[in-house]
C-alpha cells in the first residue's frame, strides 16, 4: 500500500462520513418548524428519508472497512479523525431511524376515557366532538394541541383525530 493510494482511501472515508451525515441533515434542515417548505424541497427531503436508513448503514460499513485498513499506518492525529468520522457515521445511522417529532410531542399509545360526568374538565374548555350512532367522544383541545394525533375507533369506525 503506497502513500498516494492511502490518500484516496482517506478521501473516500471522509466523503462517506459527510455523505452519511447529510442523509440525516438535509431532511432535518428542510423539514424544520416555522419555515417555508417548497414543494420541491419537501419532495427531496421525503425521498432522502426513504433511502437514508439503508445508505447510512452502507456508509458506516465503508467507514469501518476503510478505517481498519488505514489504522496501522496512521498517526495519532489521523486516528482521531478516523474515530470522529466513525462516530458521526454511526450517529447518522441512528438518527435517521429516529422520529424526533415524536420526542417533542409524545404520541398517545393507549388512550384513556371517562364518562362525561366524571371528566375533570372546565366547562369553558374546547373539545373536538364526534358522534357516530350511539357513541360520542370529546377530545379536549389542550390535549390534542400537544399530542396532535390520536388513532381511535368510534362505533367500529376507525378514525384519526388531528389537531
Amino acid at each position: 500500500m503506497n502513500k498516494s493510494e492511502n490518500r484516496w482511501l482517506w478521501l473516500l472515508l471522509g466523503l462517506l462520513a459527510v455523505f452519511s451525515l447529510s442523509l440525516f441533515l438535509i431532511p432535518a434542515f428542510v423539514i424544520r418548524p416555522f419555515r417555508h417548505q417548497s414543494e420541491r424541497a419537501l419532495g427531496l427531503a421525503i425521498a432522502v428519508k426513504g433511502i437514508a436508513p439503508a445508505l447510512t448503514v452502507a456508509a458506516l460499513v465503508g467507514v469501518v472497512a476503510l478505517g481498519a485498513r488505514l489504522w496501522r499506518t496512521s498517526s495519532r492525529w489521523l486516528r482521531t479523525g478516523m474515530v470522529t468520522a466513525l462516530v458521526l457515521s454511526a450517529a447518522a445511522a441512528v438518527m435517521v431511524r429516529q422520529n424526533y417529532f415524536e420526542w417533542m410531542f409524545n404520541p398517545i399509545t393507549a388512550a384513556g376515557f371517562v364518562s362525561a360526568g366524571d371528566a375533570h374538565l372546565d366547562d369553558k374548555e374546547m373539545v373536538m366532538a364526534v358522534r357516530i350512532g350511539q357513541e360520542a367522544r370529546a377530545y379536549p383541545i389542550v390535549q390534542m394541541a400537544y399530542h396532535h394525533i390520536l388513532n381511535d375507533t368510534v362505533a367500529d369506525v376507525p378514525i384519526v383525530v388531528t389537531y
Binding site: 423539514i31 424544520r32 418548524p33 416555522f34 419555515r35 417555508h36 417548505q37 419537501l42 419532495g43 427531503a45 421525503i46 425521498a47 422520529n99 417529532f101 415524536e102 410531542f105 409524545n106 404520541p107 398517545i108 388512550a111 384513556g112 376515557f113 371517562v114 364518562s115 362525561a116 366524571d118 371528566a119 374538565l121 372546565d122 366547562d123 369553558k124 374548555e125 374546547m126 373539545v127 373536538m128 366532538a129 364526534v130 358522534r131 350512532g133 350511539q134 357513541e135 360520542a136 367522544r137 370529546a138 377530545y139 379536549p140 389542550v142 390535549q143 394541541a145 400537544y146 396532535h148 394525533i149 390520536l150 388513532n151 369506525v157 376507525p158 378514525i159 384519526v160 383525530v161 388531528t162
Partner: protein
C-alpha cells in the same frame, strides 16, 4: 378529523414532520406521507389517496355535556395521558406560537396571517369567515356556490356550527330569538322548548331551531338542518390550501 381507511385498508397514523406549519403524518402500514389539513397522501405507496372527512364539532365542554345529557348513548371524554401535566397541556400555546414567524404570508385581504378563520369549502368554492365576525354577528348568513349557509354561535359564545339554511327545498332565513337574550343557561337541546330561557333561532315559517340545528317547534318539528363541515384554521394556512378562497365581508 378523518376516517383512517384508504383503499380498503385500516391505517394507523403518527406525527412525522411539518410542511409550512401544518403537520405531516405517516401511516404505520405503508409509510406514506399525509398532509394533516387536506387528508391527502403526498408521497409513498398511497400517494394521491385522500382520507374521508369525519364530521365533527368544536364545542365548549359545557355545551357538549349539556347536549350529551339529553341524548341517548355512550359519551366519553379523553383523559390526560399519564405522565403529562399542565406543563405539556399548555393552555397558552396559541399565544406562544403567535410569537414565531409564519412560513407564508398572504397580505391584502384585510386579514392578518394568524387571524383565525372558519373555512367552508363546497361546490368547488371556498370562503373564509373571520371568527371575530362570526361571533359578533349571530347568525351569519351567506351563500357559497349557490347554497345558502348559516353560521351560528351557541349560548356559550364560543361554539360554532354551520348549517345549510334550507328546509323542504326552500331557502330559510334564520334569526336569533332575541326575546331570550340575557337569560342564557347553556341549554341548547330543544326538548325543553317551552322554557323561555333557551338559546334558539326562529325562521319566517314559524319554526324554532336549537343549536344542534333541529326544529323544536313549528311545521319542521323533529327535523334537522343539514350540517356543513368547516375548518377552524389560521388565515395563512387556509389560503395556502385554498388559493381561490374568498373572504366573507358584510
Amino acid at each position: 378529523m378523518w376516517k383512517r381507511t384508504a383503499r380498503g385498508r385500516e391505517l394507523h397514523f403518527y406525527l412525522a414532520g411539518i410542511n409550512n406549519q401544518n403537520f405531516l403524518m405517516r401511516d404505520r402500514e405503508t409509510g406514506s406521507w399525509w398532509q394533516q389539513v387536506t387528508g391527502r397522501a403526498i408521497a409513498g405507496a398511497l400517494a394521491g389517496s385522500a382520507l374521508e372527512l369525519m364530521p365533527n364539532d368544536e364545542l365548549t365542554f359545557g355545551l357538549w355535556k349539556s347536549e350529551a345529557s339529553q341524548g341517548q348513548g355512550r359519551f366519553l371524554v379523553l383523559t390526560p395521558v399519564p405522565g403529562h401535566d399542565d406543563k405539556d397541556y399548555d393552555k397558552k400555546w396559541e399565544e406562544e406560537v403567535a410569537k414565531y414567524p409564519v412560513p407564508l404570508t398572504f397580505p391584502g385581504r384585510g386579514l392578518k396571517d394568524r387571524d383565525v378563520i372558519l373555512g367552508v369549502a363546497m361546490g368547488g368554492q371556498a370562503r373564509a369567515f373571520p371568527l371575530e365576525k362570526v361571533r359578533g354577528t349571530n347568525p351569519v348568513e351567506d351563500k357559497i356556490a349557490g347554497v345558502p349557509v348559516v353560521l351560528v354561535t351557541g349560548a356559550d359564545g364560543e361554539s360554532v356550527r354551520v348549517f345549510r339554511s334550507q328546509w323542504n327545498g326552500q331557502d330559510i332565513e334564520l334569526y336569533r330569538d332575541t326575546q331570550n337574550d340575557g337569560q342564557r343557561d347553556g341549554q341548547s337541546d330543544g326538548r325543553s322548548s317551552g322554557q323561555s330561557t333557551e338559546w334558539r333561532l326562529v325562521d319566517s315559517m314559524g319554526n324554532t331551531w336549537n343549536f344542534a340545528g333541529c326544529a323544536t317547534s313549528g311545521p319542521a318539528v323533529g327535523q334537522c338542518l343539514e350540517k356543513i363541515n368547516f375548518l377552524k384554521d389560521y388565515w395563512f394556512d387556509w389560503k395556502n390550501y385554498n388559493p381561490q378562497t374568498t373572504v366573507y365581508s358584510h
